[in-house]
Structure formats: structure tokens, C-alpha cells
């Protein structure tokens, strides 16, 4: 028994789930046992959006130190506007709109990697500069854009089966696929290898540039689809719709046990971390604290969790 527990505790992702469970229990304890299920449903509905971009960010971060996609918020904003325009509020055009959002995200990912590869700009600065440009495009393209999502699409993003949002089920399947992609395919193994040692990976015959390119395009594409889903869920596109996902996407990756030094990724941890962050906010809201206190506590708890989790793997 102790052995099982010890092995479970040694897994980097377990901490994020323990964190999520404890804030949920704390919230239920405070409400006297009411609304625990509803809280989980709400947490799942919101967490999925962070998980989608979190997967993209995780692949990018796994490429090694300095690799991070800061263009996700701008990407989400632009893709949400593109998707809503293409859908034009008609159910028959949903698939077309989703494709447009995917293409928009993929184009942004391509642009990011072009900057990184052709101009050899560090990824942080490349994606940051790209996000400035994207943001401007979005502002001038999306201004005054007040197109509602098609009713079919908006309803779809809100369907629940036995209290579980259908998006959460789909995203669960998607993350399992992403897990297989990471651990069982040549591409995923190449990403991990590049993150561990880019030079060694290149010498071993991995086509480093192609893999890095694919990774940035993957991240961009996931940002694009997330933008479309968010616009459906919140019933409309918005320039600022992706703003919180810059910090959130990085936070779930790292709290979930993925190494920022690269070469070590963790998919289950994304779920734990995303649920933890959303439930943390829910808990603080139930406590009825002010916005300032909520921010301070969120920050302190993130630092505390990362400190506890960091202690579990000091052998670095």
C-alpha cells in the first residue's frame, strides 16, 4: 500500500490533482455540501479551453529552454473573429468556420516559425512580436464585429451529458490522442529528444527544423480552434477573448509537471492543473473575497503548489 502511494506521489502530475481535489473540498466544505456537482460541471466547461491551448503550449515548451508561444492570446482573438465571420450565424456553415479558424491558427504558427527559423529570433521575442502584429490585424478586422455564433454551434458548446459537458468528453479523447502522439509516434519522440538535447537529436538524424516547425504549427492550430470554441461558448468573438490564456496556458503546463527545461512532457497533469486553477477561482468566489484578495491568494497558492511539486523532483 505504501509502495503504491509512494509511486503515485512520485508522479509529477499527481500534485495538480491533489491541489484540484483540495480546493474543491474546501469550497464544498464552505457551502456546507451544496453545489459540489454543479461546481465540477462549471469547472469542466471552463477548464477545457485552457487544456486545448495547454496541449499546444506543452508541445512547444517541451522543445527546450526558451521555447514558448506567446502569440496564443492574439491568435485566439483573431481566430474567434474569423470563425464567427465565416460562420455568419448559419448552422450550415459551422464546419467551414471551424476550418477557417484552424487555417488561421496554422498560418499564425507558420509565421511564428518563419521568424524563429529564417531570422533566428529567440522564440519568446518572435512569438511576442508576431502577437503584436496579429493583435493589430484583429483590432482592425474585428472592430464592431457583432456576429453571434450559429445557434447550433452555440448550443453544441453548452451540451451536457449527466452533468458532464460534451466538450469535456471530446477534449478528453483529444488529450488521449495527444498523449499517444507524444509517447508513441516518431513525431512526439522527436519533440522529446529535441527538448533533451537538440544537438544530439540532430546528430541522431532527427530533422530538427521540420519537427520544430510542426510543433509551432500545432500550437497555432490549437489556438485557432480554441478561439472558435470560445466564441461559441461565450456567444460572440472578442479581441480580448484570449487574454487570460497567455498566463493560463503556461501555468497549466508547468503546474501539470511538464519541465520548463524541455524534454519532459505530461498530459494528465494538464487536466489536473486546469481543473485546479478553475476550481481555485470558484473556491475563492464562494468565499466571497474581493478581487484583490482573490488575485493575491491565487498567486500565493500557485507558488505554494509549485514549491511542493518542485520538492518532489529535486533530483535534476
Amino acid at each position: 500500500m505504501r509502495d503504491v502511494l509512494g509511486r503515485a506521489l512520485a508522479r509529477p502530475w499527481i500534485w495538480s490533482f491533489i491541489g484540484a481535489l483540495s480546493v474543491w473540498l474546501a469550497a464544498i466544505f464552505f457551502t456546507g455540501g451544496h453545489g459540489g456537482g454543479g461546481m465540477l460541471t462549471a469547472a469542466l466547461s471552463l477548464a477545457v479551453f485552457t487544456i486545448v491551448v495547454g496541449v499546444g503550449q506543452m508541445f512547444v515548451v517541451t522543445l527546450g529552454p526558451g521555447n514558448v508561444d506567446l502569440s496564443l492570446p492574439a491568435n485566439i482573438g483573431l481566430a474567434s473573429a474569423v470563425a464567427m465571420t465565416v460562420m455568419a450565424g448559419e448552422d450550415s456553415r459551422i464546419a467551414l468556420g471551424l476550418l477557417a479558424a484552424l487555417a488561421c491558427g496554422a498560418a499564425i504558427g507558420t509565421a511564428n516559425y518563419l521568424l524563429i527559423w529564417a531570422l533566428r529570433i529567440p522564440p519568446i521575442i518572435a512569438t511576442l512580436s508576431a502577437s503584436f502584429v496579429i493583435q493589430s490585424i484583429d483590432i482592425s478586422y474585428g472592430r464592431g464585429l457583432q456576429i453571434k455564433p450559429p445557434p447550433g454551434f452555440a448550443d453544441f458548446t453548452n451540451i451536457q451529458i449527466l452533468g458532464i459537458p460534451i466538450l469535456a468528453i471530446l477534449i478528453l479523447v483529444f488529450t488521449m490522442g495527444a498523449g499517444l502522439l507524444l509517447q508513441r509516434t516518431v513525431f512526439g519522440r522527436s519533440v522529446l529528444a529535441i527538448g533533451q538535447n537538440m544537438r544530439a537529436a540532430r546528430l541522431a538524424g532527427i530533422r530538427v527544423n521540420r519537427v520544430r516547425f510542426t510543433t509551432y504549427v500545432l500550437s497555432g492550430t490549437l489556438g485557432g480552434i480554441d478561439g472558435a470554441l470560445l466564441a461559441g461558448y461565450f456567444r460572440g468573438a472578442n479581441v480580448d477573448i484570449g487574454n487570460e490564456y497567455l498566463l493560463a496556458s503556461i501555468a497549466v503546463v508547468v503546474i501539470g509537471g511538464t519541465s520548463v527545461a524541455g524534454g519532459k512532457a505530461n498530459i494528465p497533469g494538464l487536466w489536473g492543473a486546469a481543473l485546479f486553477l478553475v476550481l481555485l477561482l470558484t473556491m475563492l468566489n464562494t468565499f466571497g473575497v474581493s478581487a484583490g484578495v482573490r488575485l493575491v491568494l491565487t498567486g500565493l497558492i500557485i507558488v505554494a503548489v509549485i514549491t511542493a511539486a518542485g520538492g518532489a523532483e529535486t533530483a535534476r
Partner: protein, 327 residues
């Protein structure tokens, strides 16, 4: 490696055909600043005057200070994603407590520097990724700023307003201040033996540790310096804007990172350049609004223009360093 760090030190190498790319690389931050200035001079000659510079570079002083703060963190191979929120919090303290209860305000600001040193210790002792710790701290500073000043307001202490309104003869105040900041950071980090240890802790931590230096102390010192310059940045910001707002520093995180990189710093290896960082910050401050206003770029596209300027400068740098590597 050694050629790059020689250039990054800002010490001009001996002139010679082989050293040309190196020299160019060291001068690139200055060249980009000159280019932006030339653009402004061409578009609006009247801006190149004592008052023109005082106005245009008004906000460059806090940006330069925040960039230096970020530079200390980057020198140790870390990244501070909380500096913007921190500058905002310091601003709120400055516009409230520092004016009404100077002693309490001063103690709070000193405490902030201690918190930064403690963060350095935490990051070192627990092997934590600085990105996440500072990400968490950015929520904390932002929250504290909102608690301190729920609505924009407050007022800067009179002595601070007086300092920021100084009108030195001939050279505008922001330029004098920027030169002082650059000189201070340059001497401290580049010309003292402990400065070399600090940079070494980013370049090769194992070697510095084997040589008997405390890596914990080095990390704490780097973060304390970042905290100190963050506090100075907040002070300078409120001295310029006269009142505060909890979100006042939000753009500074990305500006400071961009400034360090624009100034010739690298994310890993302790390779930073204080003089370059200040010049990078000035370039960003000028390119951010005066240049674009004079170019009559519509507000929608000003952010994009910023991104393109950043990309252009970095692309030029890469072309030069590639020649450096080849030659």
C-alpha cells in the same frame, strides 16, 4: 562564445577587419536608436530639441529602470514575468503611503526588495522554474495593488515630482537619467569582481560553485538588484504620471524583456549588456509612440508597427552575428 561575450560586455574590441562584425554587433543597439531618432528628425525636425526630448523620453526613464531590473534576472538565466505588476504595485505604494506616511511607505518598498531576494532564494533552493514563480507573483503584486488602490488616483510625493521635473542645463533630464542608470548598472555588473561572479552564475553555475562562491547568495543578489530597480522604476513612473493606477505597469513585463534582448542580451549564459539594455529601452520608448505618431500610423496599427520594428532590429542583429560566426 568568448567573442560574443566580449561584444556583449560593451567593451569595444580592437579595430580590425576581423573585428568589424563584432563591433557592429556591439554598436547595433546604438545604431537602431540612431535610426529611430533619424526617422523622428526627418518626420518632425522640431522634435529634436531640448523640450522635444524631454517630452518624448518622459516615460523612457521608468522603462529603462524596469529593463535593468529584468536584465539582472536574465543574467542569472531566469525570467521575471512579474516585473510589470511589481512596478504597478510600487507605483500604488508611492502614490499613497509614501506620500501620507513616508516611513511606512519606505519600509514597505524595502520589504519588497527583501521579497525579491527571498524569491531568488526559493527558486535556487527548490530548483523551481522562475517563469512559474514570477507568474504566480504577478498575481500577488496585481492583487496587492488593487487592494491598495481600488480606483485610479493617489498623488506622488512632492520631492519625487521635483526630482522628475529637474531641468539640467543643455542635456534633457531623461537622457541624463538614462546615462546615470546605464553607468551604474555597467560598473556594478561589468566592472566589479562580484559582478563577474553574478554573470558567471548564469554562464556556468557549476564552475562558480566549484570556485567557492555561494550560488544561493548570487541568485539572491541578482533578484534583490531586480527588486531595487523595479522599485526605482515604480518611483520614476509615478513621479512622471503624478498619480497611480493598479494596472499602470502592466505593459512593462514584455517591454523590459524586449529591451534586454534588443540591447544585445541573451536568454541563457549570463550574457547581458547594461548599456545596451538602456539603449534598447530608449529605442522602444521612442519607437512605441513618438515615431509612430509622427508617421501618422493609425492607432489600430501602432502595436503591429512595434512588432515589426522589434523584428527588423533583431533580424539585422542576426545577419551581423552570422557573419561574425563565419568570419
Amino acid at each position: 562564445m568568448s567573442s560574443g561575450s566580449a561584444a556583449a560586455k560593451g567593451a569595444l574590441p580592437v579595430l580590425g577587419a576581423r573585428n568589424m562584425p563584432r563591433l557592429l554587433r556591439a554598436l547595433l543597439p546604438a545604431l537602431s536608436l540612431a535610426l529611430v531618432l533619424a526617422g523622428i528628425a526627418w518626420l518632425n525636425p522640431r522634435a529634436i530639441s531640448y523640450f522635444g526630448f524631454t517630452l518624448m523620453l518622459n516615460l523612457a526613464v521608468p522603462i529603462a529602470l524596469a529593463t535593468i531590473a529584468q536584465m539582472f534576472v536574465i543574467a542569472g538565466n531566469d525570467l521575471d514575468l512579474s516585473i510589470g505588476a511589481f512596478v504597478g504595485f510600487v507605483g500604488c505604494v508611492t502614490a499613497t503611503w509614501l506620500r501620507e506616511a513616508p516611513l511606512l511607505g519606505a519600509i514597505t518598498l524595502l520589504g519588497c526588495i527583501a521579497v525579491y531576494a527571498a524569491l531568488g532564494a526559493l527558486i535556487h533552493l527548490r530548483h523551481l522554474p522562475s517563469i512559474v514563480v514570477t507568474l504566480g507573483m504577478s498575481f500577488v503584486w496585481q492583487g496587492l495593488a488593487i487592494l491598495m488602490l481600488p480606483k485610479p488616483g493617489g498623488k506622488a510625493p512632492d520631492w519625487l515630482l521635483a526630482v522628475m521635473k529637474l531641468k539640467p542645463p543643455l542635456v534633457p533630464f531623461p537622457i541624463v537619467a538614462a546615462a546615470l542608470i546605464a553607468a551604474l548598472a555597467y560598473v556594478g555588473l561589468m566592472r566589479t569582481s562580484y559582478g563577474a561572479v553574478l554573470r558567471g552564475s548564469g554562464g556556468n553555475a557549476v564552475a562558480i560553485g566549484r570556485a567557492g562562491w555561494s550560488l544561493l547568495k548570487a541568485k539572491m543578489t541578482l533578484f534583490a538588484c531586480a527588486g531595487l530597480f523595479g522599485v526605482l522604476s515604480g518611483l520614476a513612473l509615478i513621479g512622471t504620471t503624478t498619480s497611480a493606477d493598479a494596472n499602470i505597469g502592466n505593459g512593462y513585463t514584455l517591454l523590459s524583456i524586449a529591451g534586454v534582448i534588443l540591447g544585445g542580451g541573451e536568454f541563457v549564459g549570463g550574457r547581458v549588456s547594461p548599456v545596451g539594455a538602456v539603449i534598447g529601452a530608449l529605442t522602444l520608448a521612442l519607437a512605441a509612440s513618438p515615431l509612430l505618431t509622427f508617421m501618422r500610423i493609425p492607432p489600430d496599427w501602432q502595436v503591429a508597427a512595434n512588432g515589426i520594428i522589434l523584428i527588423t532590429v533583431l533580424a539585422a542583429r542576426v545577419l551581423i552575428s552570422r557573419r561574425d560566426a563565419e568570419g
